[in-house]
């Protein structure tokens, strides 16, 4: 039977048995079937757990909550921009009261876009894939029981929670004070209106709570560093003995490249923020020209971190896409070594392109030209990935399950985002569109679209493994399509608005831009609808979903070699390495509703034979 028929039969046929099974399709007794979810009970067994899987789930809760918060403010911004109303007309005709109200609205807008950007970047996009999916599947992909430093992992989680809660509290206070001016006496002032970039000298002189907000980001940075250190040590030392570097699943390569960037870039952000704090609190004049400093130095420092941070967001997503492309094309990944090396290559180039954020900040022409050239060279490893994915799909038996829909969406969005990145690397174009909606659209395509699609692809791919429940395939496909359509509607139009000169970070605009903003806002509502459907699908799955088989997709990386959800110690006995892209050992079993391993090819024996 061909693979796609197999997949059809999965949903056409009668409901599969709803009994948890092991990887050979043998039922396991649910009563005795211990899993990491049921291993310990009680709230403390979660809060103090050292289990990487539970820490991954705890990350999932808080990171998705910040995604919700950042998303709500995205909708608020888009709604404000759809109805700039009074702000749009001639100010001269307004009374003082009306002007005051406009001023309040604009303050609110500034704080709202800062909250949206800062929460999304620092608390969702950067940590999401490594912290949720990396924590959950990385040790299992390596056949290990845990990450190298489980206590450090928990510490990293609490750094995140502590820093994140503080950060949201500080920013949220400002928002609430703008809405309810009386509350400022109750909890003090707060808020942040610098944008997520904290550019000096504005950030050293703004009256909003930049000091506290920067301290929050500083703590969040520690979480990122600790996760990175942990992953590097895990990948180096906890691989199975027979798994060489080029036998690792590509998601592990992605996480490895990400961890290197986290470890090398985040401390620079830490020292930058520390100097910013020193400047605000002690009057140390490193960045403030009034104190003898140089504000462009801040931009250099900041982007030395934040440009690699952009790749911290995208590289692990690329790893997920590599896994899914192969599994759902039922075909060995094309160009394994090229994909693996291009991840590391992107990580290296990430550190030498930061200057392209400062083409208009008074850099010398020579530096601009060098950074322009280096930036364009990022397109090479990125294109290597794209072409290898396409070659993997070519003549594969493509199965359009939810993870694959997201993965194909990823290719689409990342291609648009990446190619416009090459536009922006060209100096002359960047001068023209700098700080316009063209930039906004570009980085949303790369950072948000691609990374969010990578996360959603990964979540729907590993969801059965994480919770031992299947989700409703139909609704989740509807959601995937809505999200794709909504995203493109929201942001593609912004390329046009930006190239016509619509500047970013403004609460209002001339009337000729109204049509673009209206379309964009409509798209954002569709996008939000799709995301809420995903949430509904997930909740429905937790409550009503049928038990997931050990291997619903027929993948062969090691995390599928244990039951769903996995045991507390991941595997019954330490597995040997497998070829993650050889799917021959698995056959479809209708009764199980998933793939089971052929009895006659016990994979340990097979591995031993091939040695």
């Amino acid at each position: 039977m061909h693979a796609h028929e197999v997949w059809e039969s999965q949903y056409m046929s009668a409901t599969p048995q709803s009994i948890p099974t092991d990887i050979f399709g043998k039922p396991v007794n649910p009563q005795k079937g211990d899993s990491y979810l049921t291993h310990d009970r009680g709230i403390l067994s979660w809060l103090l757990t050292l289990d990487h899987k539970r820490i991954g789930l705890m990350y999932m809760v808080v990171i998705l909550a910040s995604f919700l918060l950042g998303g709500i403010f995205a909708i608020v911004l888009r709604t404000m921009l759809a109805m700039p109303g009074a702000n749009q007309a001639n100010h001269a005709s307004y009374t003082d009261e009306q002007l005051a109200q406009i001023s309040v609205n604009n303050d609110f807008y500034n704080q709202a876009f800062t909250l949206h950007g800062a929460v999304m970047v620092f608390m969702f996009i950067i940590p999401a894939i490594p912290a949720i999916l990396g924590n959950f599947v990385l040790p299992m992909m390596l056949g290990a029981k845990d990450v190298a430093f489980p206590k450090l992992n928990l510490l990293s989680y609490y750094c995140w929670v502590g820093g994140g809660l503080f950060f949201v509290w500080v920013l949220g206070k400002g928002i609430l004070n703008t809405i309810f001016p009386g509350m400022v006496e109750f909890w003090g002032s707060g808020g942040l209106d610098t944008g997520w970039t904290f550019y000096t000298p504005y950030s050293t002189s703004t009256g909003t709570a930049a000091t506290a907000a920067v301290a929050g980001v500083f703590i969040l940075g520690f979480s990122s560093i600790l996760t990175g250190v942990n992953f590097i040590a895990t990948i180096h030392t906890l691989r199975p003995k027979d798994m060489g570097w080029f036998q690792m699943p590509l998601f592990v390569w992605g996480l490895y490249a990400t961890a290197i960037m986290q470890v090398l870039a985040t401390p620079v952000l830490a020292i930058t923020l520390m100097l910013l704090l020193a400047e605000r609190m002690l009057g140390i004049g490193i960045f403030d020209p009034a104190l003898g400093g140089d504000p462009v130095l801040f931009q250099h420092f900041f982007w030395f971190y934040s440009h690699p941070a952009v790749y911290i967001m995208i590289v692990p997503a690329m790893g997920i896409i590599s896994e899914i492309m192969s599994v759902f094309s039922r075909k060995r990944i094309f160009g394994y070594a090229f994909i693996a090396c291009s991840s590391v290559c992107i990580a290296i180039i990430a550190f030498i392109v930061w200057g392209h954020h400062m083409f208009t900040s008074g850099q010398s022409d020579l530096l601009n030209a060098i950074f322009s050239f280096l930036t364009m060279s990022v397109a090479i490893p990125s294109a290597i990935k794209i072409f290898n994915w396409l070659a993997t799909m070519y003549k594969g038996a493509i199965v359009l399950e939810t993870p694959m829909l997201y993965a194909m969406g990823f290719i689409w969005l990342f291609t648009i985002g990446g190619l416009t990145g090459v536009y922006l690397a060209a100096l002359s174009i960047d001068m023209h569109v700098h700080d316009t909606y063209f930039i906004v659209a570009h980085f949303h395509y790369v950072m948000v679209g691609s990374m969010m699609f990578g996360l959603l692809a990964g979540m729907s791919y590993w969801w059965p493994k994480m919770f031992g429940k299947m989700y409703h395939e139909g609704w989740s496909k509807v959601a995937a399509i809505l999200i794709f359509a909504g995203f493109n509607l929201t942001f593609f139009i912004q390329f046009i608005a930006g190239s016509l000169g619509m500047p970013r970070r403004y609460a209002t605009y001339p009337p000729e831009f109204a049509i673009y903003h209206h379309i964009s806002t409509l798209g954002s509502y569709i996008l939000a609808t799709g995301l809420f459907i995903v949430l509904g699908v997930w909740i429905h799955s937790l409550v009503r979903g049928r038990p997931a088989p050990a291997n619903p997709w027929g993948a062969n990386s090691l995390e599928w070699h244990t039951k769903s959800p996995p045991l507390h110690a991941n595997f019954e006995k330490t597995p040997l390495a497998t070829d993650p892209y050889d799917f021959d050992d698995w056959r479809w079993d209708e009764n199980v509703g998933g793939y089971v391993m052929n009895e006659n090819t016990h994979h340990e024996e097979k591995t031993a034979q091939t040695k």
């Binding site: 990450v147 430093f149 450090l152 180096h236 870039a265 009034a290 850099q363």
Partner: protein
């Protein structure tokens, strides 16, 4: 946490060494993992200090004469003393690691104790130096640390470059909020001008001329001869043709990059070929450079302060492993924490090896 540990123990199939965590197969694997993690962490430390070194390089490149002048206030003897102390403590630390590997508990504890003593002496000397510097710095500023940079020229062009105070037309006020700050600063400048009489005598570089100049600042401020919109904190450049003036230093970061090919001219002229001495005096600095002297101390305090914090953390860690060593936790089969703390201590030492010449031995 104890529950979790107990549960982990259930998974161990064989009798395992107590130090071996459940997810490792052998102590060697655990050791190499921990060591790799530590190296990765040390890389983050280096990158973090790298930011400070970068800021140092930029400002030394843009204002070489200021650094040349200001570093004379640092005490080279104490700096060298601290270097020797830290190097010696690195030796005792390495010796301690060896003692742990050999299972020599008394030697290990002794060596850790000596390392701790080294760390303590370093911090004591640092305290002496800091309190001394605090005094000096306040003479050059407006009386307190938080404000000693507050009296600087608060003007820059719209392109973000510093402006020559004489180029009045291009100068813009860079923020309303700064105005308030500057008015404070003026008050302090005036005080500082008055104070110049007394402390100037204690500083070898201060001359009568400088004292007069201090008054000039006050006078020029009062006269408001420049046509700025707001209160001016800087004097008109006085006619000082009798003083050897260095060529203007590159003033913005982008310019600094353009000068990267060679040391900017003022550096050469100031390192007086005739005497072989590079004594830059207060009068050698122009007004703007005098204002930037405090920046050297800001960078000095940031760099040595962060380093001192690391020394303190290292001392805490050494105390922790010393207590564990006294309880007999380490031996030839398990000495990972000693080794890791040793690595950390060597890094702290290494950073100081760079800080000492960069800050104390400028020529």
């Amino acid at each position: 946490m104890s529950t979790a540990n107990a549960n982990h123990a259930q998974h161990s199939e064989d009798v395992r060494q107590p130090q071996l965590a459940h997810h490792f197969d052998t102590l060697e694997q655990q050791y190499s993992s921990a060591k790799l993690g530590m190296w990765a962490f040390l890389a983050t430390e280096i990158l973090m200090f790298g930011g400070l070194f970068c800021a140092y390089a930029v400002y030394r490149g843009t204002h070489p004469e200021v650094f040349l002048y200001a570093h004379h206030f640092l005490n080279t003897f104490w700096g060298a003393f601290n270097t020797v102390v830290l190097l010696a403590s690195s030796l005792t630390m390495a010796w301690g690691v060896r003692a742990a590997q050999l299972g020599n508990k008394p030697l290990l504890v002794l060596m850790l104790l000596l390392t701790l003593v080294g760390g303590c002496s370093f911090m004591v000397v640092k305290y002496i130096e800091y309190s001394d510097k605090w005094e000096h710095v306040s003479h050059h500023g407006s009386g307190s640390f938080s404000l000693f940079a507050g009296s600087r020229n608060a003007f820059y062009t719209e392109e973000g470059e510093f402006t020559d105070p004489t180029a009045v037309g291009q100068a813009v006020r860079y923020g309303e909020s700064k105005q308030h700050h500057d008015e404070h600063a003026i008050a302090h400048t005036n005080q500082a001008g008055d104070l110049h009489d007394a402390p100037a005598k204690t500083l070898e570089h201060q001359s009568k001329h400088a004292t007069e100049q201090g008054h000039q600042i006050v006078d020029a401020t009062a006269a408001k001869t420049l046509d700025f919109k707001s209160v001016q904190t800087r004097p008109m450049p006085t006619d000082r043709s009798d003083i050897r003036r260095p060529a203007p230093a590159p003033q913005g970061l982008s310019e600094a990059f353009e000068h990267i090919g060679g040391i900017p001219a003022p550096y050469e002229t100031l390192a007086d070929a005739g005497t072989g001495h590079s004594v830059v005096t207060w009068e050698d600095l122009d007004d703007r450079q005098q204002g930037l002297v405090s920046q050297f101390f800001q960078i000095y305090f940031m760099m040595t302060g962060l380093h001192g914090l690391h020394v303190l953390i290292g001392m805490g860690l050494i105390t922790w492993i010393m207590i564990r060593a006294l309880r007999g936790a380490f031996g030839p089969s398990y000495y990972t924490p000693v080794d890791l703390v040793g690595l950390y201590w060597h890094l702290v030492d290494l950073i100081w090896i760079f800080l000492f010449p960069l800050l104390y031995l400028i020529h």
